[in-house]
């Protein structure tokens, strides 16, 4: 019995580690520039967590087998060892807090990245079970919006005010967007009704869209293709169907895509 339990506790981390190392299931293929640092951090975190996981289970399994009751001997009367306790407390503090500082350095590096002047600006307004994308058009300015003007039957999904000339050339699409490859994109997230979350797995981008707030998030796509935008925050009964398509294309294709959309 002790040996069986020990073997279980040894096999568990070995099998788990092999499945991770073998990448049987793994993150979707990376398609953004900043995502590399996130993936590296994830790998580092997995290695640290995995090492603790393996060592702790090896020790647990070994002790169960090695110190199983013999019936004749007495256990060691051992109550404390202040130096040992201080040593492992300090060691874990350095390990965890060091890892935390490193993780935050990566995050701050991404969150505080400044945007180049040619950044592509897109406004995303999430609503129950759809993504509305808006491009500012040739004037580079988004027109004023007013929720009272929202009228899906007229195609005015986000309530663009017709009295504001800045909004005349705005391009609005639903569940379909395009961005150019290798150019920074800044998305401003808004929500019409409840909280949603903008998730593009291959870009390693996830950010909540909260009603009442405008929250920026940015990425630079590095591979052309079509990606999925999924909602990551529970938003109601069709949450699992809230799917947008994000097409990454060359600069020339992007410009012609914008023109064709503007003509609609």
């Amino acid at each position: 019995m002790p040996l069986v339990l020990s073997i279980f506790l040894w096999l568990l981390p070995i099998v788990t580690a092999l499945l991770f190392v073998g990448r049987v299931w793994w993150t979707p293929d990376l398609a953004s520039i900043h995502g590399r640092s996130i993936d590296d951090q994830l790998a580092l975190a997995l290695i640290v967590a995995g090492t603790i996981f393996v060592l702790a289970h090896f020790a647990l399994g070994y002790f169960i087998w090695r110190y199983r009751a013999s019936g004749s001997e007495r256990a060691l009367y051992w109550r404390e060892h202040p130096k040992l306790e201080a040593a492992w407390t300090i060691a874990t503090a350095i390990l965890f807090i060091g890892l935390g500082i490193e993780g935050n350095r990566v995050w701050a590096g991404y969150a505080r990245e400044s945007m180049p002047s040619d950044v592509v600006r897109i406004e995303v307004t999430a609503q129950q079970f759809a993504w509305n994308f808006r491009y500012p058009g040739p004037d580079g300015r988004f027109g004023r919006t007013d929720p009272r003007l929202i009228d899906d039957s007229l195609g005015n999904y986000i309530g663009i005010d017709p009295d504001d000339s800045a909004g005349e050339d705005d391009i609005v699409t639903q569940n379909l967007a395009a961005v150019p490859v290798n150019r920074a994109v800044e998305v401003t997230l808004r929500a019409k009704d409840v909280t949603h979350s903008f998730f593009v797995p291959q870009f390693r981008v996830k950010q909540d869209a909260v009603p009442g707030l405008s929250i920026p998030v940015h990425f630079t796509a590095k591979a052309a293709g079509e990606y999925e935008v999924a909602c990551a925050e529970l938003c109601g009964m069709q949450h699992h169907k809230m799917r947008g398509r994000l097409q990454v294309m060359s600069e020339a294709e992007f410009q012609s895509w914008l023109r064709s959309r503007a003509a609609l």
Partner: protein, 574 residues
């Protein structure tokens, strides 16, 4: 009042109240498991029709596969029932009520009538929660976190968000009141009713665990109560605590303005993170107690264990923002929350080191309580290391709201705490009922549950790392999610087997009450005060003789002693 009612129903005896809480948790956990089975059916086979289930619950199917809103309502109720009525109830109010007074040598709780009232308030909360489950229009679908605006808008935001959501909030508010009374009772009892000689640093670690948990409960539940009342006011009083201006829901303009959805998240997680520790601290206490008893060794570094309870308890109040890294909160605040979360891992690691050090050079007896406690340590490590990962915002960006998080919190606060309950049940059953539980049935149950739980939750890490989002009724709409379906089928089958294995535990409990081997006063050769009195204990615990305590709680294998344990009431070698 007749004798029976007074003795078993409206009893003020802490032991009866403890058992009442345990039975309430048992009822709740059965409901919670049933709901999770319904969830797993939908997740594994989302398009399948189930004629038998449809006959039982026609509205949930509407002539086709299970509806997504029904799935979400099952998910919401599963989480709520498990977290509040199982994990916050059995380890603290169940075992704590029964054993805290006995372990410190008291005749009862400080406020026995308030204690009885706490239970009846909690039972009322459970009744209202069951009403939410069966409410007209469906049970709520906003998740156990019930984020507004979704939870604040009523029926127009989705099915179950009218009456069902309203009842949910009322139930949680009532539950908070009951837990608040319980924590007051625990704190007062521990501070004022200890027997002669029972100094604070001679209390068993179980008592320290319940004491620190009660401090957390005392400070956390009022915040949730307040948040719940504000949410209720937004729904029925026309206020706008959580609703900003200009919301358009189902083509309707919502008149509220000026509120903030993030306010709820801050209030909820200010409660919600300490809540995690309310669920797990009693388990740490039980594990420390049992690992020492069955290793026949003193708990290693007792004072560090006590300090770790307080460190975890204190730090747990300044980490809540790690649930909100991607919520739109300031990144600077995120950094503070991330580092504080890393800090809470330190006392948690210290506890693990101390459990291992307690086993080192012990004489380990692998009886069922010890098996479950070893399971606890294993789960605590498995779920803890993923917590360290998620504490980093850069990692959390990708893993937030995926099954990686589901795996993390189920292992560390769900399964670990439940294994502590299994351990506690096998350990204290002979004291509560005078008979031993079957060791062989217990071992079968332990193995099936240990292997089953890992089969359920280990694959969820892989779902998460592949981007698999939680709270999705199905994985069919997205190309990046569809390849994960075989994992869901595997998890569901593992869940069905593990759920079925719980019948063994149930049978063992009820069968052993009448048929178990008779237990003596101290079947485990343990040292704390509950093992000095008859099994089951008399009404006033110590039959009018106040115990006098002469030593700390874990004097196992003391050199020079005639046997390998010395009771707390014994003199003899120091």
């Amino acid at each position: 009042m007749s004798g029976f009612l007074r003795r078993y129903l409206f009893s003020t005896d802490h032991k009866v109240v403890g058992i009442q809480y345990l039975l309430l948790s048992l009822a709740a956990v059965l409901v919670g498991i049933a709901l999770s089975i319904i969830m797993r059916i939908r997740l594994a086979w989302p398009q399948e029709k189930w004629p038998i289930l449809e006959r039982l619950m026609p509205a949930a199917f509407a002539g086709g596969p299970m509806t997504p809103e029904f799935y979400l309502s099952m998910m919401t109720m599963h989480g709520t029932i498990m977290i509040f009525f199982v994990l916050s109830t059995a380890p603290l109010s169940g075992f704590g009520n029964y054993f805290l007074p006995i372990q410190i040598g008291a005749r009862d709780m400080a406020f026995p009538v308030l204690n009885m009232l706490s239970f009846w308030i909690t039972l009322l909360a459970f009744g209202v929660m069951m009403a939410a489950l069966f409410a007209t229009g469906g049970a709520p679908i906003a998740g156990w976190t019930s984020y507004p605006p979704l939870s604040a808008l009523g029926e127009i935001a989705g099915p179950g968000l009218g009456l069902g959501q309203g009842l949910w909030i009322v139930s949680i508010a009532i539950f908070c009141v009951g837990s608040l009374f319980t924590s007051l009772n625990f704190l007062t009892t521990t501070l004022n009713l200890r027997a002669r000689g029972m100094s604070l640093l001679w209390m068993p670690l179980t008592v320290w665990a319940w004491f620190t948990t009660a401090i957390l409960a005392l400070l956390a539940f009022p915040v949730l109560l307040a948040a719940g009342l504000l949410l209720l006011l937004d729904r029925i009083g026309g206020t706008s605590y959580f609703l900003p201006a200009g919301l358009i829901v189902s083509d309707q303009l919502i008149p509220n303005q000026g509120g903030s959805p993030l306010l709820w998240q801050h209030l909820f997680w200010f409660f919600g993170h300490p809540e995690v520790y309310i669920a797990i601290l009693p388990g740490m206490g039980i594990t420390s107690h049992i690992v020492s008893t069955f290793s026949r060794k003193p708990v290693f570094a007792y004072k560090a264990m006590v300090a770790a309870f307080f460190a975890i308890g204190f730090i747990s109040y300044i980490v809540w923002g790690h649930h909100m890294f991607i919520s739109g909160m300031s990144p600077y605040a995120g950094i503070a929350f991330s580092i504080s979360t890393m800090a809470v891992a330190v006392p948690s690691a210290v506890k693990t080191f101390n459990w291992l050090a307690t086993m080192w050079r012990g004489q380990i007896r692998l009886a069922t309580p010890m098996l479950y406690s070893i399971g606890f340590v294993s789960f605590f490590v498995s779920g803890g290391v993923t917590g360290v990962m998620l504490a980093m915002p850069s990692v959390d960006i990708f893993l937030h709201d995926t099954y990686f998080v589901v795996a993390h919190f189920h292992i560390i606060m769900g399964v670990a705490a439940i294994f502590a309950v299994f351990a506690g049940t096998h350990f204290w059953f002979p004291k509560m009922f005078g008979r031993m539980m079957s060791e062989s049935l217990g071992k079968v149950h332990f193995w099936l549950t240990l292997a089953g739980v890992y089969a359920i939750f280990m694959p969820m890490h892989f779902l998460g790392i592949s981007g698999g989002l939680r709270r999705y009724a199905e994985f069919t709409e997205f190309a990046f999610l569809r390849p994960l379906q075989p994992l869901h089928v595997f998890i569901s089958i593992a869940a069905f087997v593990t759920a079925a294995a719980q019948i063994i535990f149930l049978f063992n409990c009820f069968w052993s009450i009448r048929n178990g081997r008779r237990a003596g006063v101290n079947p485990w050769e343990a040292t704390s005060l509950e093992w000095t009195i008859p099994s089951p204990p008399p009404h006033d615990n110590f039959a009018g003789v106040e115990p006098v305590v002469h030593r700390g709680p874990y004097d196992y294998s003391v050199p020079g002693a005639s046997r390998d344990y010395l009771m707390q009431t014994e003199g003899g070698p120091e």
